[in-house]
């Protein structure tokens, strides 16, 4: 293995894991073993449901490098000043203490599909009967010329929540009067389709208060984006004259950055920027690649149980999988996790497997008490997870409706994080 930045971080985290979890191997005691990699909306939910519903009949291990998980959903609200970072943090104490899940804070670094084992940076080898990978996203190398992960502190992606989000906010707050915040938006498909545009709204909300003459510049390789009419209506209403979006027709897909000079070149025209939020093209978290179950950037799965199309003993949840029509969102991952948990439990202990059903709803905040949402239901077909029905907020809704939508999103945050972490 190359000693890159990731591996180094992994080794450090594993050192801590060694002290707290000295005997992970061989804890199965004859029970079927499930190993879950990644403790986000997909992995935490799947681990919790399998442990909870199997009443101890299945041995569940969750491998997650961070001790404190910060949700990507609602992290834009931190940028806008609507949430404290602490309110987005969750620990794994409940999953370990209340559900008997072995929580290992370590990096999964290898999968031996023949031996059915996962190895970790901390030196563990964990056998599994079923492996659930929910590693989220990584970035495609070279997607934005001039940018790679080594410059993420100069030009943050802030697309994994936590220190990156805090860094981006600090950089925006430090912008000179009338300065420019630039966003390089990602191509499809990517995590949280409305995310970049909710972020623009939240940055605009912040700048309107602290730096009202500042500008927001979006370079976007996509012709259209999620909830576009709603966002554009909101930007005109709340942030008139502040936001400029350059789409693909004007070179929004032909960008290059210079982190040293703090410039962004769009179709050859060089702009000086004061904060530069580069959200590169995405792919499945690296462990999916290591396991050899990806095709292109994502891991194709069967719709009925989220099992890999390349290995029936591995399931892939959330952003990392290619499943069909569901957007890559925390809600989708949580929904998929429950279908997967039901199927895995059935396969390992013979419990009833009910037919798969999926749903997603994404709330976005445009300004104070101006919330919007989009949602859909889905079913499993032979070919993919297919959309059944859906809705989207309407333009021109009353202030009461928008305020109620925002309140509902707060309730949803509490609901889904309880569903993930207990």
């Amino acid at each position: 293995m190359k000693l890159n930045r990731r591996a180094f971080i992994g080794t450090a985290a594993a050192g801590a894991a060694t002290l707290s979890a000295p005997t992970v191997m061989g804890q199965g005691n004859g029970r079927p073993r499930v190993v879950v990699v990644g403790g986000g909306a997909g992995g935490a939910t799947a681990a919790r449901y399998i442990a909870k519903d199997s009443n101890g009949e299945i041995d569940v291990t969750l491998i997650e490098p961070t001790r404190h998980y910060y949700t990507c959903f609602f992290s834009n609200l931190y940028l806008g000043g609507f949430r404290e970072m602490d309110s987005l943090g969750h620990s794994y104490g409940g999953l370990a203490g209340d559900y008997g899940i072995n929580v290992l804070h370590d990096w999964a670094t290898g999968v031996d599909r023949d031996a059915k084992t996962v190895s970790t940076a901390g030196g563990y080898t964990l056998p599994y009967d079923r492996l659930i990978l929910s590693p989220g996203i990584d970035f495609v190398d070279g997607a934005v010329p001039g940018w790679d992960i080594s410059v993420q502190d100069r030009m943050p992606h802030a697309y994994k929540a936590g220190s990156q989000t805090e860094l981006l906010k600090a950089q925006i707050e430090a912008m000179p009067e009338g300065g420019t915040y630039a966003m390089v938006a990602p191509p499809n498909p990517f995590r949280c389709p409305p995310g970049p545009y909710e972020r623009v709204s939240m940055v605009a909300h912040l700048l309107k208060q602290i730096n009202p003459t500042a500008k927001i510049l979006i370079a976007d390789p996509k012709q259209n984006f999620s909830k576009q009419a709603l966002f554009e209506e909101g930007w005109n209403r709340h942030y008139a004259g502040m936001i400029e979006r350059i789409g693909p027709d004007f070179g929004g897909g032909n960008v290059e950055v210079d982190p040293e000079a703090m410039t962004l070149s769009i179709d050859g025209a060089v702009e000086n920027v004061d904060a530069c939020n580069v959200i590169p093209a995405m792919k499945a978290g690296r462990i999916a690649d290591i396991a050899g179950i990806t095709e292109g950037n994502w891991a194709p799965v069967n719709a009925a149980d989220l099992s890999s199309k390349m290995d029936e003993n591995i399931h892939v949840l959330g952003d990392a999988c290619a499943q069909g029509d569901m957007p890559k969102s925390g809600f989708s991952a949580n929904s998929q996790a429950k279908v997967c948990a039901n199927a895995v439990r059935g396969a390992l202990t013979g419990t009833t497997v009910f037919p798969a059903r999926f749903a997603n709803t994404c709330w976005s905040l445009i300004d104070t008490d101006d919330g919007v949402k989009v949602g859909a239901t889905y079913e499993a077909t032979e070919e993919k997870i297919a959309k059944v029905d859906g809705f989207i907020s309407e333009t021109g809704e009353s202030a009461d409706v928008r305020a109620a939508t925002y309140q509902e999103s707060i309730g949803w945050y509490d609901g889904i994080t309880t569903d993930m972490f207990g």
Partner: protein, 234 residues
């Protein structure tokens, strides 16, 4: 007369303080408020039963959490064991902002902001507490029903095991514990209330884009299964 007295108090409330309800409100107006804001969950008057919420006969000067056969939230029981008693003052505070007063109450109510409204509502409720023998007849014991569901649909006996699986779609937003903050609690409802509510969404009688979407693809049996599961959830 009363309303004119209360009005200036409200103005002060707008400036920062929180106004209290006043004894002597208008019970007739209180009855209207009860019907619009409370009756979908609570019954009061002769023959009142527990529904989504406990019946409210005799609530004044009763210890909290005491109505037989009603499953209260953990937080309400904590407050009850700490001695909470329903008086004019405590009811006023609770109704003004339920989740501030009892943080994880299952009561799905955002609160009644106006002190005048609370004065009137409490005047109405008090009639059902003063002396059980005097409880007025023909009170609105029937909960406000916004939808009629065919008796054969209400008669379907749901499978709680299937309901438990289906409930995982609900718990992405609604909490199993019954805690509610922006998304209502749906636990421990009488099955017929749950079934009626879901069919109201399914038939588009109640409007809510997420709930209409979720209910639209649930069969009658699936709705019954969910009702059976949530009715008895611990």
């Amino acid at each position: 007369m009363m309303r004119r007295v209360v009005f200036p108090v409200l103005l002060i409330a707008g400036l920062g303080g929180s106004a209290a309800a006043q004894v002597g409100g208008d019970p007739e107006r209180g009855e209207e408020l009860f019907r619009s804001d409370c009756a979908s969950c609570h019954q009061v008057g002769q023959g009142a039963r527990n529904r989504v919420g406990p019946h409210l006969n005799g609530i004044f000067d009763r210890q909290a959490g005491q109505v037989e056969g009603f499953r209260y939230s953990e937080d309400m029981m904590l407050r009850a064991s700490a001695g909470l008693k329903w008086t004019f003052e405590t009811l006023d505070k609770y109704i003004e902002n339920p989740r501030v007063f009892v943080s994880r109450t299952r009561m799905n109510y955002a609160g009644m902001e106006s002190a005048e409204d609370r004065s009137d509502l409490l005047a109405y409720l008090r009639q059902f507490s003063a002396d059980p023998a005097d409880i007025p007849e023909a009170a609105p014991t029937a909960a406000a029903v916004d939808h009629d569901v065919a008796p054969e649909i209400l008669a379907i006996v749901g499978d709680p095991a299937y309901g438990e699986y289906l409930s995982t779609e609900c718990t992405s937003c609604h909490q199993e514990s019954g805690a509610a903050n922006g998304i209502p609690s749906i636990t421990n409802w009488p099955a017929d209330v749950f079934v009626t509510a879901m069919h109201a969404y399914k038939d588009g009688v109640r409007e809510h884009n997420v709930m209409e979407m979720m209910a639209s693809r649930l069969s009658n049996e699936e709705i019954a299964a969910l009702a059976a599961y949530f009715e008895n959830i611990e």
